[in-house]
């Protein structure tokens, strides 16, 4: 499967403007950050751009700093290791530290960027191996057939494509109410995480709002959920390398024993991180306990439409949601 990469011209601009100019100049320019995902595409010979723009040398894309509103700004090229070891993030947004610590393997976290991790493409095995599916611009889905291998695929919001978000940190961005700063056509725009991730009904060929020529500059974390209680759990076939089958991400504020406010997001069950609003409504104002857990199990997977081989994700996500709530007791 894996092969020597095709020939390409490599550019290493040292400024955001330089990178944006290159992306504007070449129609098939491909942008690489940590390149952990891109080199796989190239080696599989599924994607073969003739121009590759490496933004690793742009200093202003790296780093974590405090913002005026009490939140944090994380440069998109900051490595996952730097994110999970950063004392500010450990202190204020431990949910992001714990989700980043579960990504892939130490070596990948040392090179992979936070911007790349949240923006990465889906891992659908058919799409990845070059099948001409909907997402690849074709007119069929190979994963949603009676005999297809669709154990990893979606339970919710399917629209032709049944691929799921593979990211461990993207749900944390949604839960924390982060917003993404994007350089688009010379201007910086800010997109909230709830709109940054898009499903197939909006555009079946993309996972995020990023278009060709856009550069993700960084992530703004508001102070809303700073120092909140948190719970992250990822279930995967292997603890290292593997993408989540289902993951649960929760931040919560307590008032005494009761849950004052909560944000719960589930990864691996839908094309975008799935906000479990029904669970949030059930537990808000309640004291965690067996009764609440039963209710949480009832509503967590409501509306799920399993494929032939991914029924197991339904009890899995119900149990994960219940365990998250139990952690608040």
């Amino acid at each position: 499967m894996s092969d020597v990469m095709h020939n390409f011209e490599l550019y290493q601009p040292d400024s955001i403007q330089g990178a944006a100019d290159l992306l504007g100049e070449f129609d098939d320019a491909w942008i690489i950050a940590g390149a952990k995902d891109s080199l796989g595409w190239f080696k599989d010979r599924v994607i073969q751009p003739s121009v590759v723009v490496d933004i690793g040398g742009i200093a202003e894309l790296t780093g974590i700093e405090e913002t005026d509103d009490g939140g944090l700004y994380i440069g998109a090229m900051t490595t996952l290791t730097d994110v999970l070891e950063n004392p500010l993030i450990r202190d204020r947004y431990p949910i992001l530290s714990s989700s980043a610590s579960q990504v892939a393997s130490p070596q990948i976290r040392n090179a992979g960027s936070i911007g790349g991790n949240i923006s990465q493409d889906t891992r659908c095995v058919y799409y990845r191996t070059g099948f001409p599916c909907y997402r690849a611009g074709g007119n069929t889905c190979y994963a949603n057939t009676p005999t297809a291998m669709n154990r990893d695929h979606a339970l919710f919001e399917v629209s032709r494509c049944v691929a799921v978000t593979p990211s461990d940190t993207a749900p944390a961005m949604v839960a924390l109410g982060a917003s993404m700063v994007i350089r688009r056509k010379g201007e910086d725009i800010e997109v909230p995480a709830s709109e940054y991730f898009i499903g197939p009904e909006i555009d079946i060929t993309r996972m995020t709002v990023l278009e060709h020529g856009d550069i993700l500059l960084g992530i703004r974390l508001p102070a809303d959920w700073a120092n909140a209680r948190h719970y992250f759990e990822k279930v995967a076939d292997r603890n290292t390398w593997d993408f989540a089958l289902v993951s649960i991400t929760m931040v919560a504020k307590m008032a005494g024993n009761a849950i004052e406010d909560v944000a719960m997001v589930c990864g691996g069950v839908q094309c975008t991180p799935r906000r479990l609003t029904e669970v949030e409504d059930v537990v808000r104002g309640e004291v965690p306990g067996a009764e609440v857990e039963t209710l949480v199990r009832r509503v967590a997977s409501r509306g799920a439409q399993p494929l032939n081989f991914n029924h197991f994700k339904i009890p899995l996500m119900e149990n994960l949601a219940a365990r998250a709530v139990r952690s608040l007791a």
């Binding site: 020597v4 020939n7 550019y11 390149a35 952990k36 190239f42 121009v51 892939a104 070596q107 090179a111």
Partner: protein, 226 residues
């Protein structure tokens, strides 16, 4: 040892006068490959094969897709194991290929070639990375350490290497260079790791022989000695 017998590539033939001389000359001219060891022989075969077959395929970017002065300069300097070397690197070349086939540092192994096994692990500025999935041009200005750069200059093994020997960690040995680099990087950053921390640090390296516990014991043993 009878050096006139059939050539056995696994033997290192001893220095000394040829048998024909001992026998007082004559017409007997036994074939004796004086300094050909198995390792050097294989190295020669591998290298010549790469020059012949590889140059046209692996590094065929000699005819680039687009000649553009703004693109990366192929000639670059790379700091590996404390030495700065000037190398000609194709834009699509990975660090694993560069250290093995341009610099001859074949201790780094390329296993899966897709960032899923850890055999190719090297250190860049003290942090472990998969060299098979890193563009060499990204490594400009970085301090790279491969497994060849772990032992002291006089050949004294690093405590991690010695501990792996003592704990019988390598079985087939293919993953060992990566395990050594991962273990050393851990102890450089955290000289007193807990067993759990060591487990996490070594978790990016597969061992198909399943000697994980041996490697873990080796790292913990080395941590006590460092």
């Amino acid at each position: 040892m009878d050096a006139s017998g059939p050539y056995d590539p696994t033997l290192d033939y001893p220095e000394g006068p040829a048998i024909a001389e001992i026998a007082g000359g004559g017409d007997i001219k036994p074939w004796r490959p004086l300094h050909v060891t198995r390792r050097n022989f294989l190295r020669g075969v591998v290298c010549s094969g790469i020059v012949i077959g590889g140059s046209s395929y692996l590094f065929s970017a000699a005819t680039p897709a687009r000649a553009d002065a703004r693109g990366v300069e192929r000639m670059m300097s790379l700091t590996v194991n404390g030495k700065t070397r000037h190398v000609d690197v194709a834009p699509n070349e990975t660090l694993g290929y560069t250290v093995r086939y341009r610099l001859g540092l074949t201790g780094t192994k390329i296993g899966c070639n897709q960032a899923e096994c850890g055999a190719c692990t090297v250190m860049a500025d003290g942090r472990t990375i998969y060299s098979c999935s890193t563009l060499t041009h990204r490594m400009r200005g970085k301090d790279i350490v491969t497994v060849e750069g772990i032992a002291a200059a006089d050949g004294t093994l690093h405590p991690v290497q010695q501990a792996f020997i003592d704990e019988l960690a390598p079985q087939c040995g293919f993953c060992t260079p990566g395990q050594v680099v991962a273990g050393v990087a851990l102890l450089n950053a955290n000289p007193n790791p807990t067993e759990e921390e060591a487990r996490v640090a070594m978790s990016g390296n597969l061992c198909r022989c399943g000697a994980y516990e041996h490697y873990l014991r080796g790292v913990m043993k080395a941590a006590r000695e460092v």
